[in-house]
Amino acid sequence: MSEAPVIELDHVSLVYRAGWGGAKSETLAVDDVSLVVNEGECLGLVGGSGSGKSTLARVMTGQIAATSGAVCIRLREDAATGHASGRRTITAPRPRDVAGHVGLVFQDPYASFDPHWTLRRSIEEALLLKGSSRRDHAGRGATDFLEMVGLNAAFAARRPGALSGGQIQRAAIARAIAINPDVLILDEALSSLDVSVQANALGLLARLRQELSLTIVFIGHNLAVVGAIADRVAVMEAGRLVEAGPTAQLYRAPQSDYTRQLIRAVPKLRHRQGGVAA
């Protein structure tokens, strides 16, 4: 894990303006956030609903332009072989700069895939849109990526309607990593899964991260889930970055009240005779 930053946010703010005439309203969705995502690390982004974490992710990837502050992305130079031959820096990125370099996994599994398409076709779409071929530079195809996430080849011909939530999220992860992304963003991706399924998915993510040296931004509202996989955690409240630091340190010595609230909100199981430890 190198310390080279992939995404850098410097005093970034985002203001939403709505209404006209006398009814103008301004919402500060992101309030002066400075944050760095380093190559190879997993950054957790935690906060309640409306804290601005999803919005921040979209600013990071250039989907929304920040109203003030600097956004900087360093993307791999994709040569024909797909090996990173270097990095180019983009300031104030726009969607087309970032196209094909960011993997996104969303919260609602069933909206992530076109219900008319098979999984194979959906994954191949990602590959085709990025590299104009159904296989990536290493010759891996849709079924290979499905297998990487624990879905055997027979799943390729299935449609999302016939799958369970956990299976679909795995497929979504497969599609996201198929394009060999510079950064993988999981936006509440595990939040709609059952707890036991979440645990499986976290294990999968940890393994993939190891194998593929992924850089991950993991967004969630449950500190326990986020903390299970993140190296560093950033806490957001009402658009502001409240606290950020290595996971263990945050748990042991939270600096802000809000973080303390979040920690308290995590249900802890007491150790009982022959029972389950927290």
Binding site: P115, L129, A154, R158, G161, S164, R175
Partner: protein, 308 residues
């Protein structure tokens, strides 16, 4: 609606309720009649029959010899109605198809654009919606010259706006879905998104309107023909048969009522079938919003995932 669900439904061969079944039967019979007209009647629709008129020059009422009687020029009503079905059906189907295609393109593409372009397109659609359709159609038809194809075009022009509105609303709901965002993030063009993804989602609506719309276009076609600005005589269409015979109505009501009933039956049938299709599509759609499947249950209980 997903295709595999639809196929499963079709294959299940559930019985059609009586309304749609009758409607479908009526439509099929009329289409068959139109296509097989030369086989079904020995008479030509345009030639007066030697025994077509009564001694005082009036149309003959329905009898065993002439099932639908004769019209004001002594022509066989059976022949006129059967051949007339062709023109009426043709205008109805062609104009409606054009309306559906144009409406889908405008509504779908308008929905995929964003910002000012999208607002401009929908403002235009609203403008077209506000026009008094029928009277404008009549005006245009009378000026640029009445003919079958002009009538079809004009009726299409009056009808596409409703469809554009409906398609637009549906597009808005689909466009926010994550798989569209994901594809867009990969650099997919709007046309790609529209043609590869959106169209399949719009297919059910298009089908519904293709059926329902014909009920309206058939009527408009008849109205235009009745006013003399649609299909021109001597080519028969149900509307112009009535036009030709309206002055004989009191002495020969069958000349007006029989084509009138046919128009009613055709329009009604398409209405009933269209509403049935509409209901089915809505039911399939709400099923798409996922109740728990067996897969979900299995997963929760930790069974190993194998497909099939």
């Amino acid at each position: 609606m997903t295709w595999d669900v639809a196929v499963r439904c079709a294959g299940r061969r559930r019985k059609l309720p009586t309304g749609p079944a009758l409607g479908l039967a009526a439509i099929s019979l009329i289409i068959a009649g139109a296509l097989l007209a030369p086989l079904l009647t020995p008479h030509s629709p345009n030639l007066p029959l030697p025994d077509g008129m009564t001694p005082d020059g009036m149309p003959k009422p329905p009898s065993l010899a002439h099932w639908f009687g004769t019209d004001n020029l002594g022509r066989s009503m059976v022949a006129r109605v059967l051949y007339g079905a062709r023109a009426t059906l043709l205008v109805g189907v062609v104009s409606n198809t054009i309306a559906v295609v144009v409406g889908t393109l405008v509504g779908g593409i308008g929905g995929m654009l964003e910002g000012r372009a999208e607002a401009a397109v929908m403002r235009f659609v609203d403008l077209m919606l506000a026009f008094p359709a029928l009277i404008l159609a009549i005006a245009i038809a009378s000026i640029i010259g009445p003919s079958l194809w002009n009538a079809a075009l004009i009726i299409a022009l009056s009808n596409w706006t409703w469809i554009a509105r409906v398609v637009y609303t549906k597009t808005l709901s689909i466009r926010e879905r994550n798989f569209i965002t994901a594809a867009r993030l990969l650099g997919a063009s709007r046309w790609y998104l529209f043609s590869r993804h959106l169209l399949m989602h719009l297919a059910p609506i298009m089908l519904v309107w293709e059926t329902l719309g014909i009920a309206t276009t058939v009527q408009m076609s008849a109205a235009l023909s009745f006013l003399g600005v649609g299909v021109q005589p001597p080519t028969p269409s149900w509307g112009n048969i009535i036009h030709d015979n309206q002055n004989y109505f009191t002495v020969a009501p069958w000349t007006v009522l029989i084509p009138g009933v046919f128009i009613l039956v055709l329009s009604l049938s398409f209405n009933i079938v269209g509403e049935y299709v509409h209901e089915k599509m809505e039911a399939l759609e709400s099923r798409e919003r996922r109740p728990e499947t067996a897969e979900d249950a299995r997963e929760r209980f930790g069974e190993i995932e194998h497909a099939g």
